[in-house]
């Protein structure tokens, strides 16, 4: 971590700059997956408690985003994609981001322990610790496996949502975790293929930088293929449904086919069409996760109307 704001003359930040420190786009994905985890769990939660818990999970995720921006300010300033973030742009100091992150972490964890339960609060604390210390401080700058292991941080929210409702974890929660865990590498490597220079300039050892695009392309395909059975296996648990199975089958096949196209392309092919396939698969991967979790909830909702235990058919 380095001081990057010394040369800037600060006139005070807008509130929106502090909000941007919380990485609102990541927060929206966290809220969405945590909400699905909470809604499909086999225990009812009072709407006020559920809403407050999701808000606190979002705040915890935001806190880890602010701490990540504090630590990575020296990297962010060297990458086009992140150069306009509040710290490298000189609108907020790194120290302010650190304080915001620490206060919000403590606040969200403490309040979640009261609002929901200690287990959910403990999971949230571990998630923040994992993202900031294990991913940001240790893995990100050291190993091309950064995104593989670090992906766990983004995979915890549905598990926390489940824990808010049930007070524990189960096979279903672990499978939701596994889906996001396996989805993260191909999602980020598809992105890294077309923003490779950014990571190289910043000295981040992404797979594209350390092992080259050919290895990265193969890995995108391998992970997309492994993701398919993980996603499908959730169909055969208590929270699975025919709708989820159909959606998971279609999306996984489409994602794996897109990853196959990435694998079979050379770097020259990609350069000639400005990484059209990579960009398309990256967008597909976002739709994949959103639609998969939406189908999970939809299937659960329909099962309350038509109480047929589809899992008993097997």
């Amino acid at each position: 971590m380095a001081e990057t704001t010394g040369s800037h003359i600060r006139h005070g930040a807008e509130f929106s700059d502090y909000f941007r420190l919380l990485k609102p786009r990541v927060m929206s994905l966290v809220v969405f997956t945590a909400a699905i985890g909470l809604l499909v769990a086999p225990a009812s939660v009072n709407p006020v408690i559920g809403f407050a818990s999701l808000l606190l999970i979002a705040l915890g995720a935001g806190a880890s985003g602010a701490l990540n921006m504090w630590w990575d300010a020296d990297l962010d300033i060297r990458m086009r994609r992140t150069a306009d973030r509040p710290i490298p742009a000189g609108r907020v100091t790194a120290d302010e981001a650190l304080q915001l992150g620490l206060w919000l972490s403590g606040f969200s964890i403490a309040l979640l322990s009261i609002t929901a339960n200690l287990f959910a609060a403990g999971l949230l604390a571990f998630t923040i610790l994992f993202y900031v210390v294990i991913y940001s401080m240790f893995l990100k700058r050291r190993t091309p496996q950064n995104i593989v292991i670090g992906g766990a941080a983004g995979a915890f929210p549905p598990m926390i949502g489940w824990a808010v409702a049930t007070g524990g974890v189960s096979l279903e929660a672990l499978l939701m975790f596994a889906i996001i865990f396996m989805w993260t590498p191909p999602h980020f490597w598809a992105l890294a293929l077309f923003v490779k220079d950014d990571y190289a300039n910043a000295g981040v050892p992404m797979l594209t930088v350390t092992h080259g695009p050919e290895v990265t392309r193969r890995n995108v395909f391998v992970y997309a293929v492994i993701l398919a059975p993980v996603a499908l296996s959730l169909s055969f648990t208590e929270i699975g449904s025919p709708i989820y199975f159909a959606v998971a089958l279609y999306l996984s096949a489409r994602f794996a086919f897109g990853a196959y196209r990435i694998w079979r392309r050379s770097q020259d092919d990609a350069l000639s069409d400005d990484f059209a396939v990579e960009k398309q698969v990256f967008r597909q991967s976002l739709v994949y996760l959103f639609a998969l979790f939406a189908a999970l909830y939809l299937g659960d909702l329909l099962q309350t109307i038509l109480p047929i235990q589809w899992v008993e058919l097997f």
């Binding site: 006139h11 005070g12 930040a13 509130f15 009072n46 006020v48 407050a52 808000l55 009261i114 609002t115």
Partner: protein, 57 residues
Amino acid sequence: MTDEEIKARQERNNIWVGACLIGVAVLVFGVTVVKMMSGHNMEAFDHVYRPALEQSN
């Protein structure tokens, strides 16, 4: 940036911070009401041993 612009920005930020504080107060109040209505034990020992509380647990 002029002094007026800085002042206007600070005022906007103050309003946002105020709104966040009100939001937190409403959130804590709402959670407390729900917990009490759903029969959670909101009392605890306070310096003096209270057998009645122990029996209710």
